[in-house]
């Protein structure tokens, strides 16, 4: 479902003396449907960078990244948009939403974009928010007014709303308490059971051991010192 082959990444900072910083070389991984692969490595090793390249958020300098049959590296913006709408979900560490939009609509939106009916989408959104213990009194309010943990949970509800065949999870259990962490892990297990291919970053070792089938150490993709 997700295949990364021989991918490299270079940052060129034009406004800081044109510094060229190679950060990754020969990155490779492959994830089958129903499998969860955890990216590991110290902070700064390039876990998020690799994940963002898979999402098409960062441009890979070379190599091939295939998700659901589309090569993300050479794809047109509209192909990547369609991929993100239907196939590839991404739960980032931060919630980014239009101000003033109620939490319920924020969660329902990914389902509405793929053509689900208003009622069905809202029903599932309510179900997810309940499972993630967002009090019903908050559903009509913009999540931008919520606490950090609540925002993270709304973000997760939104990420799991549409049943994407491939998912990227960046620290999904960070800043969550025990019960909610358990819910999120269950959501991940359910996604695996329905056949989703998942790439995750988990600093929480217990969580990682529970949901990840394999680990890939991203620091092995560090460029050789010149």
């Amino acid at each position: 479902m997700i295949t990364v082959e021989n991918v490299s990444k270079v940052f060129t900072l034009h406004n800081q003396g044109g510094a060229v910083i190679p950060v990754m070389e020969h990155a490779a991984l492959s994830v089958e449907p129903g499998e969860c692969v955890a990216l590991t490595g110290v902070s700064g090793a390039g876990k998020s960078t690799l994940m963002r390249m898979i999402y098409g958020n960062y441009l890979a300098a070379s190599g091939r990244i295939e998700v659901g049959g589309l090569d993300v590296v050479g794809a047109d913006p509209r192909e990547i948009l369609a991929l993100r709408r239907h196939t590839l979900g991404y739960v980032s560490q931060f919630l980014r939403v239009v101000p003033r939009v109620p939490a319920l609509d924020v969660v329902a939106e990914p389902m509405l974009v793929v053509g689900m009916g208003q009622e069905a989408a809202r029903a599932r959104a309510r179900d997810l928010l309940t499972r993630l213990r967002i009090p019903e009194t908050l559903w009509g309010l913009s999540p931008l007014t919520f606490s950090g943990g609540e925002q993270q949970r709304v973000n997760i509800a939104r990420g799991f709303a549409h049943e994407y065949p491939a998912m990227l999870l960046d620290e999904p259990t960070a800043s969550l308490d025990g019960v909610n962490r358990e819910t999120v892990l269950t959501l991940i297990e359910e996604a695996k059971d329905r056949g989703a291919a998942i790439v995750g970053i988990f600093h929480d070792v217990v969580a990682r051991n529970r949901v990840a089938d394999r680990e890939i150490d991203v620091s092995t993709f560090a460029p050789a010192a010149a």
């Binding site: 940052f11 406004n15 958020n57 960062y58 913006p77 939403v97 239009v98 101000p99 939106e109």
Partner: protein, 256 residues
């Protein structure tokens, strides 16, 4: 899929000065494209060339018309182009005064566009006007007031209602949220997002506000001195900018 709008090699000079140069791109149905760049970079010139407000020196602006498929709008006859402006296209001006009839009531402003495409029943027109005023959150009891009596933000929302009432397929917007206070801006962003989703409308939005494009646009075009220096997915261009000017632009934004 046929692009809704296909722009080929548009250039416009003002004497010796470059307005915009060699711009080409395709826009597909349901896509929102943002055009960013500093003031004077040619964003508005380009928008006006595409929207039929300004004649470019060269190039083609091919629109996929309902009746005849792709047509170059620059060589269309004037009545044809006017018809397009009233039906499938909408242009939201930066200054609502340029897009509204200031001496006509709010309801009249919205109804006028409907009448231009042949609506004649007063009751239907008024009902539709009320419906659209409600969509842009203007109270029904303001329908007979003139835009002059409205605040700037309300005028901008009225301009959007006037433009969208005929169900256009392509909307050109020049700084639609410029000059509005932040709470009104948020309301407008939300409105535009849901219209794009529900009506499947495509839009080209010129702005200098990177936060606005991040929330609204799928794709981004960065302009400098009349040329397009970078294009791509909005979040990719903003998070991993490749061109030195884009890097400067992105790093210059104040964090809130």
């Amino acid at each position: 899929m046929t692009p809704l709008l296909s722009v080929h090699d548009i250039s416009k000079h003002y004497g010796q000065r470059i307005g915009c140069a060699e711009v080409s791109f395709d826009l597909y149905p349901g896509e929102v494209m943002g055009i960013v760049g500093e003031s004077g970079s040619g964003k508005s010139t380009l928008l006006n060339c595409m929207a039929g407000q300004l004649a470019p020196d060269q190039g083609k602006v091919v629109f996929d018309t309902r009746a005849d498929g792709p047509r170059d709008t620059l060589i269309m006859s004037e009545p044809e182009r006017r018809m397009l402006m009233r039906t499938d296209w909408a242009l939201v001006h930066q200054n609502p005064r340029d897009g509204l009839r200031m001496g006509v009531s709010a309801g009249g402003n919205v109804g006028e566009r409907l009448m231009a495409v042949g609506a004649r029943n007063y009751g239907t027109i008024r009902a539709k006007a009320i419906d659209w005023l409600d969509k842009v959150e203007i109270d029904e009891d303001r329908i007979d007031d003139r835009p002059r009596a409205f605040s700037g933000g309300m005028q901008q929302r009225l301009q959007i209602a006037r433009n969208l009432v005929t169900g256009p397929r392509l909307v050109f917007m020049d700084e639609p949220t410029g000059g509005l206070d932040v709470s009104v801006q948020a309301r407008l962003l939300d409105l535009l997002r849901s219209l794009v989703r529900e009506l499947g409308l495509s839009a080209i939005i010129v702005t200098h506000d990177l936060a606005v494009v991040r929330l609204l646009a799928d794709r981004l075009m960065v302009m400098k001195s009349g040329y397009v220096v970078e294009t791509g997915l909005t979040d990719q261009v903003l998070d991993d900018p490749q061109h030195d000017y884009t890097q400067l632009l992105v790093s210059s934004v104040l964090q809130v």
